[in-house]
Amino acid sequence: MSGYTMNFRVLEKYTDMFLGGVSITLKVCVGSLVIGFFLGAILAIMKQSKSKLARGIAIVWVDVLRNTPFLVQLFFFYYGLPQLGIYVDPLVVGIVALGINSSAPNCEVIRSGLMAVKTGYYETSTALGYSKFQTFLYVVMPIALRLSFKPLTSNFVNLVLTSSVTYGITLMEIMGVAKTVSARSNRPFEIYLILLVSYCAFTYFVSFVAKAIDRRIHINL
């Protein structure tokens, strides 16, 4: 411990690099949030469907994603796609892989939301003359999404934390920038400390906002 004084000043000249990293991290998070949400919703519907095939696909999909590490999935796409003749930017690979990865927990959450909608709602909307599809779209799905809002946001927080793994495929998001800057400035301790604190701050911010929104939209069935 002795003899080491922390110096954050030397990092000031790397501010632009860090901001670039933040913007890429945000791109990855937002992009994969959208993909993960819609994919998760589709999978949840598939798991609820009567077709055995659709159910089977959804179950295998979720099982495989949950029981293999994200880093391996990332490498699978990053090194594998060029073999099929598809050359894409690491950013795109990162977004798609993370989106697919987050579809698994989202599926579980949305499905439990769907299951919590009581049969009374189905009967009521049938009585009101809604078709099956209309019932699902206008009655069941809105309720299910309201119920699953809070766990979905905690999945989002997890997604943000996991997004740092995309550094493994040379993506210059905040973690990649931190690695580069720590080599250049020789101040790894300060850099990773800042990173740790900022991730915590961001996580708290997201959960705070999520709680505030959830209080407004929450319904008791």
């Binding site: 949950r66 391996v72 090194y79 594998g80 934390l161 915590c200």
Partner: protein
């Protein structure tokens, strides 16, 4: 090269497979060791979280919150690359075990706390009414029931920590993921190699996942 060019698959030799299997052992060793340490530490932290004294109960949060709200890689890099400049030096293996254990402990503590606190007050009162003292109630009434709730969740946590252990490959430890990366680059067969690697992870964690689901269904009870 073409994926459908099957002659290329001859590039994948038995020695490559052996390398992957050896690396699997390291992954398992790192995971088991860090889970053991993490569970013990997490149990202590979780019990402190349940203390009556508010100040004492919030003490573990100082260490738990940063661990739960930041990415594991950042923690790993802080320990492995950051701490040496403060004068604390670990080799990659120790750094990996240390970080993974602390991370596991933080999450395990939450599980311990929530399962103890989900035991209704009436169970405590019943214990006292039967003439148990505080320690005795804790051990014979509360811990037994909390344990049942804890197991399935703990297994889920263990599975996710197994997946997280793949991140130690980023501090140049020769774990399953790292071996996969090396072999994939050598043989130029990424689909095959990462498929095998993913399958190994899957084989280890899938039965555990099903066990956890089964236990959760069996141990769920209403008061």
């Amino acid at each position: 090269m073409n994926v459908f060019d099957y002659s290329a698959y001859a590039l994948f030799k038995w020695s490559d497979m052996r390398m992957i299997l050896n690396a699997t052992l390291l992954t398992i060793r790192v995971t088991l060791l860090s889970l053991a340490i993490g569970t013990a530490l997490g149990l202590i932290l979780g019990l402190i979280r349940c203390a009556k004294n508010r100040g004492l109960a919030s003490l573990p949060l100082i260490i738990m919150e940063p661990l739960r709200n930041s990415p594991l890689i950042v923690q790993l890099f802080l320990v492995y690359y950051g701490l040496p400049s403060v004068g604390i030096r670990f080799d990659a293996y120790t750094a990996a075990i240390l970080t993974l254990s602390l991370n596991t402990a933080a999450f395990f503590a939450v599980l311990v706390q929530s399962s103890i606190q989900s035991i209704p007050r009436a169970q405590w009162e019943a214990g006292y009414a039967l003439g148990h003292n505080k320690v005795s109630v804790y051990i014979r009434v509360i811990a037994m029931q909390a344990f049942r709730l804890l197991i399935p969740q703990a297994i889920t946590l263990y599975i996710s920590q197994l997946q997280c252990s793949s991140l130690v490959s980023l501090v140049s430890l020769m774990d399953l993921t790292k071996a996969g990366q090396i072999v994939a680059q050598k043989t130029l067969l990424p689909f095959l190699v990462f498929g095998i690697v993913a399958a190994i992870y899957y084989i280890v964690s899938f039965p555990l996942a099903r066990l956890s689901e089964y236990l959760e269904r069996r141990t769920g009870f209403n008061y």
